[in-house]
Symmetry: C2
DNA sequence: GTGAAAGCGCTAACAA
DNA sequence: TTGTTAGCGCTTTCAC
């Protein structure tokens, strides 16, 4: 196996200088058609591929974006990541992916890896690590769905409205004894409190009492199921549950069916995956595509140094999807 | 905003040579405790982070692995990618992710991007591009679930057994009029034909007639739903359907419920996501974790030049998960 | 329209 | 135990 050809090899093969080859490849300066052709032929002949690493080193830009999320295996993140990745690809950026699995130390390691890899920017969709760690990095950063007041640009959806709409949908169905299950706690500190506020305001507007249960996100499905089972069994006259993510809602739904109770459920996220598997689930849909688009746009602007100073929160509207 | 400190800056601050700093940071050679401390202090003080790009250029190894899959938004791939990423992280590799969205041209572009980025190896989970494109690259490659006879190492699960087990489960339930829906066609040419063979052999062993429908993977959910609806409506005495992925199976299940027909369904993949959302679905479970582990192990071995010549197929067993 | 030379930030021979 | 020097593969002044 022979070594990869380099610029110099192409230059020799084409009988020109390395500079000329570089110019042809990057379309810079004036080149005669004859030379251009000779160079292209040589590139073809040697099956030459430019070494992006060497290029990056010189121009100190890698076209690499690090994205940090809990895990691609959760539909919400999987779908978000797919969108982000597609948009970045169109703009010629490559994506370094980091699944933190909600472990702060892993996230910490990743951040260092990303910095060492000279990424041009970072998208954070996690909460384990303090935002300071990212600010220190002096890197363009956009956070998704994170509570970071003014220090970093944040894109999120309107969780207050989401909580409110979910609760109002249950009320509209004539349910009054409604509890809120706040799953995925560590994962989304902000969304949790906002959703809860929406739920509470909606309930109070009708003079109804509130009750929120918290279920740790780190728990596995078995454990969540057990907790939900106990909770539901202890509420003999429960009529509705609002759960802050669709997976937990799906678990609740199956428990309710098995217990043969009449309890309405509203979930949260509205991913394509879950709504396809469970079209009967009523849920609050986060605008994943729009969030991804905005995030990427903002990040690329920050990278190109527009809007550098302005850190603000962008809040996108959610919608209700009624179960079939 | 001051420029990032480099090795030289640290050297100056510590009053030593760049070489010494490099040695301290990489734990090479013998260094006096005093110097070591001085260097570490300087690193701390300047908040220095080594430039991995420069290092990569020198050692011509990037610790970057490219992984090419249709999309993180599909649970099977999302879960597979999360596993792969975790295992690679443990071995100090970073992951460049590529969602091809089943578009051959995008995959082609990605491959070139990966080559230019000097990745140390590639994992392919797609079928759009011919395997030749990858072989040409002269790069360590492992393919997942792909039909590539002898030219590249392949990891997959036993789709023949999967098809057989699925069909036999339906037969065990007393169903005899069973059709096979081969979804996700382009996505997995190999698995399709193997599953079908398993289905056919199981049916023929009982002297029953076979019928396989193909549904293009590129279709959206609406279209798939329509096709399935028509298909089911046209079979007045259908008793069972084996579908080659869980998402399509979920769609079928909801149609059947709405039509109030008595048709048993068996799906394929058995992802955590779908089995959580739809615990009542009977499905064939692919050993995602084991596949990821084997794939990563094989790739790292190829990268370190062990087993370089041996390209073979590794087939892992599937299991049946009965619906609740 | 083209080339020679310097250097991006790092590491590894080779000296001392 | 430490420093000097050269060079990884590329791009870009500056000169012709």
């Amino acid at each position: 196996m022979k070594a990869k050809p380099k610029l110099e090899d192409v230059a020799k093969a084409a009988g020109v200088s390395p500079t000329t080859v570089s110019r042809v490849l990057n379309n810079r300066g004036a080149i005669s058609d004859k030379t251009r052709k000779r160079v292209h032929d040589a590139v073809q002949r040697l099956n030459y591929h430019p070494n992006e690493i060497a290029r990056s080193l010189f121009v100190s830009k890698t076209h690499l974006i690090g994205i940090i999320f809990p895990s691609t295996s959760q539909p919400f993140f999987g779908e978000m990541i797919a969108q982000i990745e597609n948009l970045l690809f169109e703009k010629n950026y490559k994506v370094l992916i980091c699944n933190t699995m909600d472990q702060a130390d892993k996230e910490k390691n990743y951040l260092n890896m990303l910095l060492a890899s000279q990424v041009d920017g970072v998208i954070i969709g996690t909460h384990s690590l303090g935002i300071d760690a990212y600010l220190q990095a002096q890197l363009p950063v956009i956070a998704i769905d994170r509570d970071a007041t003014g220090t970093v640009t944040v894109v999120r959806s309107d969780h207050y409205q989401g909580g409110r709409m979910a609760t109002e949908e249950l009320l509209r169905q004539g349910r009054t004894r409604i509890v809120h299950v706040n799953g995925m706690h560590t994962r989304r500190s902000l969304s949790c409190s906002q959703q809860q506020k929406g739920y509470e305001d909606a309930m109070e507007a009708h003079g109804l009492p509130c009750k929120t249960y918290n279920i740790e996100s780190s728990l596995d499905i078995r454990a969540k199921k057990q907790l939900l089972k106990t909770m539901i069994a202890s509420h003999l006259n429960l009529e509705g549950i609002f759960l802050s993510d669709d997976i937990t809602a799906a678990i609740a739904l199956s428990i309710i069916r098995k217990m043969d109770r009449d309890i309405a459920v509203v979930g949260y996220d509205g991913t394509t995956t879950v709504t396809t598997c469970l079209p009967e689930l009523t849920t609050i849909v986060q605008p994943i595509r729009a969030m991804a688009k905005l995030t990427v746009d903002l990040l690329l602007k920050e990278i190109s140094n527009e809007f550098s100073g302005i850190k603000r929160n962008y809040v996108l509207p959610v919608t209700l999807k009624k179960g079939e």
